[in-house]
């Protein structure tokens, strides 16, 4: 079983950082030896959270996105926080296909986080910001190195 490990970082809410953040987190999770599918699930869910920060939390400004990740046992925990506009009604925002961002957004962000990860909690306060916590259990495979 892997040791406990953690990292944190702060990035600007620029769309070019979407691929950067999902790459960093998937690389960090690689120590747990995830399958291609598990890595894809993590990258997709992370991309949704970071996109939400850019599109919704900081709609007209560049703000900071605060990322903390840890691994413990075979579980990856990802915590992504912003100090943006917040979500007035989290329950409503989490309904599939609900979006306030117009025709080119599918309104699927939270549905993806929910379905691609094993645990999702969203805390938000208007004018204070939003925190998303997600966990993913990585399947334990037989380790040939032992």
């Amino acid at each position: 079983m892997a040791d406990k490990n953690c990292f944190s970082m702060i990035v600007d809410s620029r769309s070019v950082n979407e691929s950067f953040v999902r790459s960093v987190i998937s690389t960090f999770a690689a120590v747990l030896d995830p399958t291609v599918e598990e890595i894809s699930d993590i990258k997709t869910a992370v991309s949704e959270v970071v996109t939400n920060c850019i599109v919704h939390a900081y709609p007209d400004t560049i703000g900071k996105i605060y990322i903390k990740c840890n691994t413990e046992g075979n579980v990856l925990t990802v915590r992504i926080r912003d100090k943006g506009v917040g979500i007035p009604d989290v329950k409503k925002a989490m309904e599939p296909l609900y979006t306030t961002a117009g025709d080119e957004r599918a309104g699927l962000g939270f549905a993806v986080m929910q379905s691609f990860m094993d645990y999702l909690r969203v805390y938000s306060k208007p004018e204070k910001g939003t925190t998303v916590i997600m966990k993913k259990h990585i399947s334990v495979r037989y380790d040939l190195r032992r």
Binding site: S15, V16, E18, S19, R22, V36, E37, S40, D41, K43, T44, S47, E48, T51, I54, V55, D103, E104, R105, A106, L108, G109, A111, V112, S115, F116
Partner: protein, 111 residues
Amino acid sequence: MAVEISLSGEVITARLTGEIDHHTAVGLRKEIDNSIEINMPSLVILDFERVSFMDSSGIGLIMGRYKNLSKRGANLNISGVNPRLYKMMRLSGIERIVKVDSPLKGEKFDG
């Protein structure tokens, strides 16, 4: 992220390459819509075979093109979808409105 657009008769094939997210979707949207505007196709095929990653921005991209083409009385097909992309497409329910060609269609997925 790149898109290679080819025209054959009234059919446009847009071959997407790389990662589709909110950052890259903007440029793809413009290129594809521009080609639709100029060539007035009856069918557009979005080929995902070379797409290595896609988040829900890809679904937004498909939905937007579907709406654009529907207004013109034209059709949209999706091809070359791998299991990871198919998981996203299945979650979105996009198959109910757009024809999706995937070798994995009908198979069950975990999670």
